[in-house]
């Protein structure tokens, strides 16, 4: 028997540490799971309907498994996967907070998810109302005038924002080439700048981990289209000179772009619009708790100041005088940035999350997120000092430099050892300006007991480092697989079961 068994649980960490066969290794010719509705439509052979020169002479192999084996396979795979629901996931810059099951239920309602995106507005007014309501609340939260909900994630929002920047300058007939970006910026920022047709000018950070205002001023000029900032920045620190920065950029006719990845830190405390930003993207999958889905989907709405509203992507859902809703496209719209209306189900989840919290709850979210990050920073100050030791916002960037110099234990080792302690690793080696960076974002949904347990786990690891560092280079040991050979994967690409 060549095929692998579908009913053996040896890959489920509960009972074993073997690897799980692939769907294809479990496949047996003639087996099947699918069941389709009886339609009563007269049977006709495909070749009567389609010219044979269009038909594939071969049968494309998918897989042939029983429903029982399908269930066994994916249930076991799920047991080989860490998740927020299993434990703390302090991945800096990603805001891995608890995702309310209530929002899953909202998204599971056929009244929302069984609506075809091409349905005329008159037949899905409820959906348009959801979109308009969410847009209004996001604008209130960010202090902007209007927003597009089309971008499917933060990076898509960034590129959309840059195209808005370009459209704005074009409309004013001035042709600008450069966009400024701090050296601490997330990789999507420079990547988006390039796709937006601009050149990146990197602005150095000062010794406080903030944008170096003097350097910024020096970099500014009439050819600067704008600047992309994350505030709090990727180190988790608030750009305290934001007012001066805004003025400096605006003075040369540039626009300020706000990367909203860290919006969770400032909900109800300070708004990008009030700081002087002209364009803002939000990551609803971060700040508004829509589940990250193992890497997506997300949603990256972009809100803008009044002078940019006319350029927003279209069509946009809008409230009509009579209280009904319809689609309308802004006069000078840059056009569509998504095949339909954006990640609608993600948008609906975010609105439900906002409604449950309300203005007061959202404010508490930021307060407690910042409280947790500072508590953890302070709790760990001896072992993992913060790169910049002062009050941080929703996340703290710590450095393993001392452990590295003393015992040769690197941030990566600590990250891996934490897995054995029952915690997901923090973000490591980002931002690039911090040596041996470990960026912890506890989020507001973790309790102080959990923070303390994390701290104690790190203390144990530091203790082990001082006693016998060697094993830490081989952590984790209790996971379904130990450290994987990344080099080999890149050297000889096997991207499908048919490769090799």
């Amino acid at each position: 028997m060549s095929a692998q068994p579908g009913g053996r649980a040896a890959s489920a960490p509960l009972v074993g540490h073997e690897s799980e066969p692939t769907l294809f290794e479990m496949s047996v010719s003639g087996r099947s799971s699918y069941q389709l509705r009886t339609t009563g439509i007269p049977e006709r052979a495909l070749k009567e309907l389609v010219p044979t020169d269009h038909l594939n002479p071969d049968v494309v192999p998918v897989a042939e498994v029983s429903e029982r084996d399908l269930v066994g396979h994916f249930t076991r795979l799920s047991h080989r996967q860490f998740s927020v629901d299993l434990g703390m996931y302090p991945l800096g810059s990603c805001t891995m907070k608890y995702n309310p099951k209530f929002c899953d239920a909202i998204a599971g309602d056929p009244g929302l998810n069984a609506v075809h995106p091409g349905t005329p507005a008159s037949l899905c007014q409820g959906w348009l109302e959801i979109l308009v309501t969410l847009e209004e609340k996001l604008c209130q939260i960010t202090g902007m005038s209007a927003a597009t909900l089309q971008p499917a994630a933060g990076a898509a929002g960034e590129l959309t924002g840059l195209l808005l920047m370009r459209a704005y300058h074009d409309a004013n007939g001035d042709d600008r080439r450069r966009v400024l970006i701090p050296d601490s910026a997330h990789g999507t920022n420079p990547a988006s700048v390039t796709l937006g047709g601009y050149e990146v000018t990197t602005v150095p950070s000062n010794d406080r981990g903030l944008v170096d205002l003097a350097a910024l001023r020096a970099a500014l000029g009439p050819d600067v289209a704008g600047i992309m900032l994350t505030n709090p920045n990727t180190v988790g620190l608030f750009e305290e000179e934001i007012v001066e920065i805004a003025k400096a950029v605006h003075d040369v006719g540039g626009l300020l772009y706000y990367d909203g990845a860290n919006l969770n830190a400032i909900l109800g405390a300070v708004r990008p619009g009030d700081m002087g930003f002209d364009i803002v993207h939000m990551n609803l999958h971060k700040t508004f708790a829509t589940p990250h889905g193992g890497g997506g989907p997300g949603a990256g709405p972009v809100a803008v100041a009044s002078r940019l509203v006319d350029f927003l992507p279209g069509p946009r859902a809008a409230r009509q005088a009579d209280g009904s809703f319809d689609w309308m496209t802004p006069e000078r719209s840059i056009g569509r940035v998504h095949g339909w209306h954006g990640n609608a189900m993600v948008l609906a989840r975010a609105l439900a999350y906002i409604d449950v919290h309300g203005g007061d709850g959202l404010t508490r979210v930021a307060q407690h997120a910042v409280l947790n990050a500072n508590w953890l920073r302070h709790r760990l100050r001896e072992i993992l000092p913060a790169a910049y030791d002062r009050v941080c916002m929703h996340e703290c960037t710590l450095s393993a430099t001392s452990l590295k110099t003393k015992f040769g234990v690197r941030a990566l080792d600590i990250a891996k050892a934490l897995l054995d302690e029952g915690f997901h690793s923090p973000t490591v080696y980002f931002p690039l300006i911090v040596d041996e960076a470990l960026m912890f974002e506890p989020t507001e949904t973790e309790s102080v007991q959990t923070l303390e347990a994390l701290a104690q786990a790190i203390e144990r690891i530091a203790e082990r480092a001082s006693v016998d560092p060697e094993p830490l280079h081989h952590a984790p040991q209790h996971t379904p697989v130990s450290r994987v050979d990344e080099a080999r994967a890149a050297r000889h690409l096997i991207a499908t079961a048919d490769a090799k």
């Binding site: 073997e18 439509i41 047991h79 899953d104 990789g187 300070v270 990250h292 496209t329």
Partner: protein, 454 residues
């Protein structure tokens, strides 16, 4: 007051004390007063979950056109396919749902292996060896394909058949503003791309739909030969369900395949989150956008999976990255792998066949109605477009009164005249049939349409 915060007031004060602070405001003290929000957010106070559920019940009551309440004949890249309980149950496992990008492979083998299986399936359906781990949707996948072509050829000219969905073309135009690409759209004649009608010289990419968005099966050899002649990348935007039985993009000689993967287990979802399918030939691997999972081993030589070829990506390559994509649509990719595993080799073929069968059954009935003329005389697969001699938008509204979502108005899709349609566009209805449509439903459609048109 409702929220999901664990801290009690005692927790908060003891934590503040630990920090040597007396109030939560102290944490924000370093924010310039000038920009601080004085009176908090102007958003209603929080409501309990059941109260919010009641608000949403109000929204859904204003969505009469659900596929559960109206029989859905609308398609255009969004299809009402069967999604069995087993796929919903597996795809909603919270380990898949509440994880993020598998940065720590030791605890992410579940998502990594599921993506690897997804990649294998997309590679087989596209006939191309190098798939990625998903993109936002078909439209943005097309944009990535154009960017790849730009990078591969160093050229700007993107020649796109009008058989590509109007929204995808529209999105391509939007992003071309940033990349400086020139978008040349090739009109259709009788539903087929008239490649001769435009100058394709110096093209970076030749893009064709298969079947095209009007459902027509075009012979792609012309497009392929033009691509060869010009040294352009040949990009095929294909319906992945039809790919279960039709020649694959690879068999037609495509360098890049893009498509919409919603059909594989994702509900209509009002257009998102969907699934951007992408696969390319070996020689483009270094330009692949987004993530890709590769097989390797762990330190004890057990098979393991990991995201690989990371050097292309934004977090490492920054402004020189092949794409800016970070968060993608992994959960939909995992869902697609589960749905395809459920369908299996013959289930997918059966679904494709039933779609075509139902579509032809309905086409024959509708084409016979007085005043109705097909947009194309060419062979089609599971979708077809008709001139109704009446405003399609209006007909759709009238059909809805009879509990049928009759299809899509091409006028609405293309926002007016479109090179895909000869003559008037506002009477063109794009009709789709999936395997879920029964004979009774189709017969009801026909009689309803007969009423509406007379």
């Amino acid at each position: 007051m409702a929220d999901y915060l664990p801290h009690t007031s005692e927790d908060v004060s003891s934590m503040l004390t630990f920090l040597g602070m007396s109030s939560l405001d102290d944490l924000f003290a370093h924010i310039p007063a000038a920009v601080r929000l004085a009176n908090g957010l102007d958003i209603e106070p929080g409501l309990s979950e059941p109260d919010v559920a009641a608000i949403f019940a109000g929204y859904t009551s204003k969505n009469p056109a659900t596929a559960t309440a109206m029989t859905c004949f609308a398609g255009g890249g969004a299809y009402d396919h069967e999604v069995p309980a087993v796929v919903k149950a597996l795809a909603s496992r919270s380990e898949f749902v509440t994880a993020y990008t598998p940065y720590q492979p030791e605890v992410a083998q579940g998502v990594l292996q599921a993506i690897f299986e997804y990649q294998t399936l997309i590679s087989r359906l596209s006939g191309l060896p190098i798939p990625n781990a998903s993109l936002y949707d078909a439209a943005t996948a097309l944009v990535e394909a154009l960017n790849m072509a730009g990078g591969a050829t160093g050229r700007q000219k993107m020649v796109i058949s009008a058989g590509i969905h109007p929204h995808w073309r529209h999105v391509a135009r939007t992003f071309a503003r940033g990349t400086g690409h020139e978008i040349v759209v090739v009109p259709l004649r009788d539903g087929v791309t008239d490649w001769e009608s435009v100058d394709v010289s110096g093209a970076a990419a030749i893009v064709a739909g298969y079947p095209n968005y009007l459902g027509v099966l075009e012979d792609l050899s012309t497009a392929k030969s033009l691509a060869l002649r010009e040294g352009a990348l040949f990009v095929v935007g294909a319906d992945p369900v039809a790919a279960g039985v039709l020649k694959t993009a690879g068999q037609w000689g495509a360098d890049v395949f893009v498509g919409e993967g919603q059909a594989f287990g994702t509900p209509l979802s009002y257009g998102g989150p969907y699934l951007g399918l992408f696969a390319c030939s070996e020689d483009q691997v270094r330009r692949l956008p987004g993530r890709i999972v590769g097989e390797t081993v762990d330190s004890s030589d057990r098979r393991a999976f990991v995201t690989t070829l990371r050097a292309r990506e934004q977090d490492i390559r920054r402004e020189k990255a092949t794409s800016n994509v970070c968060t993608n649509q992994t959960l939909m990719a995992v869902t697609a792998a589960i749905q395809l595993g459920w369908l299996g080799t013959y289930g997918l073929r059966e679904v494709a066949t039933r779609c075509a069968r139902g579509a032809h059954y309905l086409f024959d009935e509708l084409a016979a109605l007085p005043g109705v003329t097909p947009v194309s005389t060419q062979p089609f697969f599971r979708e077809f477009a008709l001139h109704l001699g009446r405003s399609a938008d209006e007909v759709i509204e009238r059909m809805a009164e009879r509990d049928v979502l009759a299809g899509l108005s091409v006028n609405a899709l293309s926002n007016g005249a479109d090179p895909s349609i000869e003559g008037s566009v506002d009477d063109v209805l794009l009709v789709t049939v999936t395997e879920r449509r029964t004979k009774d439903e189709i017969d009801h459609y026909v009689s309803a349409m007969t009423e509406v048109l007379t």
